[in-house]
């Protein structure tokens, strides 16, 4: 059965690529203008799931997306890592000296900034979505304007790739999560990773104590991120990802953390996508 997936951006975007790869091509896509809109599409049952970028190696965590998952009580049911390769593309029969402007998402421009130092005649212009620029160039037959986007975008909008993989860090991994409306069903057998959020009183050693418990319960921390809770200056929230061999070890840690933290919430338990 085809899933309907809400993505930020349009077909040809990196979110679209992940949707295809994670669900083995069996997807219908709802194109949304913002991450907030993907959540609305999920909550009003237009979409079955969201594919949502959550962190990358350059910008770190996308905290507003954690906040969306948390505030709307959504459930993370999977993850996917995409090696994001940024290609420079334009209408056919143009070469780099013909290009006067490159439009792309601020993150893509940032990741490719070093490449453009060699081309000072090119003006960098921020845009909403990498694939959307590719579409605009095709629709408007824009001469002299290039996009930074994916192979899929070049293919979808019949653009010619002028330069492949122009990002500075060649292995440029972005992590996406697969998000559903909250459901109690969990297939414990295949699950070996979880995302949790907890809050602690701000006192010396409180975080070390929690991490000792995780370690004692045989959980590995693969990601940790503190976030001050502005309304309550003496408390801190933490987003933590853990991996484990046995689901019961995670359940045990969870039971202990319920006693040790002022608040704990499991954002999701799912299959680790890393070897």
């Amino acid at each position: 059965m085809h899933k309907t997936v809400a993505i930020q951006g349009i077909k040809g975007s990196f979110h679209h690529i992940v949707s295809q790869q994670y669900f083995k091509n069996e997807v219908d896509v709802i194109e949304c203008l913002s991450f907030q809109d993907t959540v609305s599409a999920l909550l009003n049952e237009q979409a079955d799931v969201i594919v949502m970028a959550i962190e990358n190696s350059i910008a770190g965590s996308i905290i507003p997306n954690y906040a969306l998952i948390d505030a709307n009580n959504l459930q993370v049911v999977g993850e996917y890592y995409l090696d994001v390769q940024h290609h420079l593309m334009a209408l056919p029969n143009q070469s780099i000296p013909d290009i006067m402007e490159v439009h792309s998402h601020p993150m893509a421009l940032l990741q490719c900034a070093v490449f453009f130092k060699d081309y000072p005649h090119i003006k960098l212009v921020e845009a909403k979505d990498t694939a959307d620029v590719a579409k605009h160039i095709q629709v408007n037959k824009s001469i002299g304007i290039a996009a930074i986007a994916s192979d899929l975008a070049a293919e979808t909008f019949s653009l010619n790739i002028l330069n492949r993989s122009i990002q500075t860090i060649k292995h440029n991994e972005t992590r996406f999560v697969i998000v559903q409306r909250y459901s109690v069903e969990i297939n414990k057998e295949s699950i070996n990773k979880a995302s949790i959020k907890f809050e602690l009183e701000h006192k010396r050693g409180s975080l070390a104590t929690v991490l000792n418990v995780l370690s004692d319960c045989k959980l590995n921390v693969t990601k940790i991120q503190s976030l001050p809770i502005i309304e309550t200056p003496w408390k801190y929230a933490f987003f933590v990802d853990v991996t484990f061999a046995e689901y019961k070890d995670f359940e045990k840690a969870n039971t202990i953390l319920e006693l040790m933290t002022t608040h704990i919430k499991v954002l999701g338990a799912y299959k680790n996508a890393k070897k």
Copy 2:
């Protein structure tokens, strides 16, 4: 003696406000187009210091700025917290129904998204800098366009504030750091906070062990953020801020961490700006 401060953005921006407040108005400002440009201005000695946003309560850490400080071996010598208030402003004699477009920085638009749900006729347009939009409205006498910016921007560019503090979270704190070229001089007496970066082998309990040491040395962790090191998938980097009563406690922890971590670096030691 006046300091010359490099800031991202123009006069009237939040970086300008912080420069004035931190240095008690005794500053000359160099307006830069990007954070990278502020670093260039510092390294070529046009600027004495940079004032740089580093984290806020909504978006979390600005990891690319950590990377700039780290990669250029700069030194954090101070911090400042600003309660960022976003005001809606336009040329005089207009009211909200006259406004067709609001231009601002993506972060400001995100923080004010809920406010604009009540005004569906207003189109939100991303721009580079909050104050720069205010300047453009004044220079071009743009009717029907509003900016989201600071009191200082409204004052600097003679705009009329239509609505004050339109961001969703009313207490909206952003942390800035004061950054210099590396220097060995440190006034240990007034120092009670430090920012460090360290790397660990990815094995169970390694982070807990480090945090136990920090706690044993009487250091409080006020912020922690993991970042995968893409080139070496089995190592993790951590950015950690700690506070302490005695500088010698920090030195002791540092000495131990040099033995326990594969790499440790002090990004700066400075005076805690929080009570």
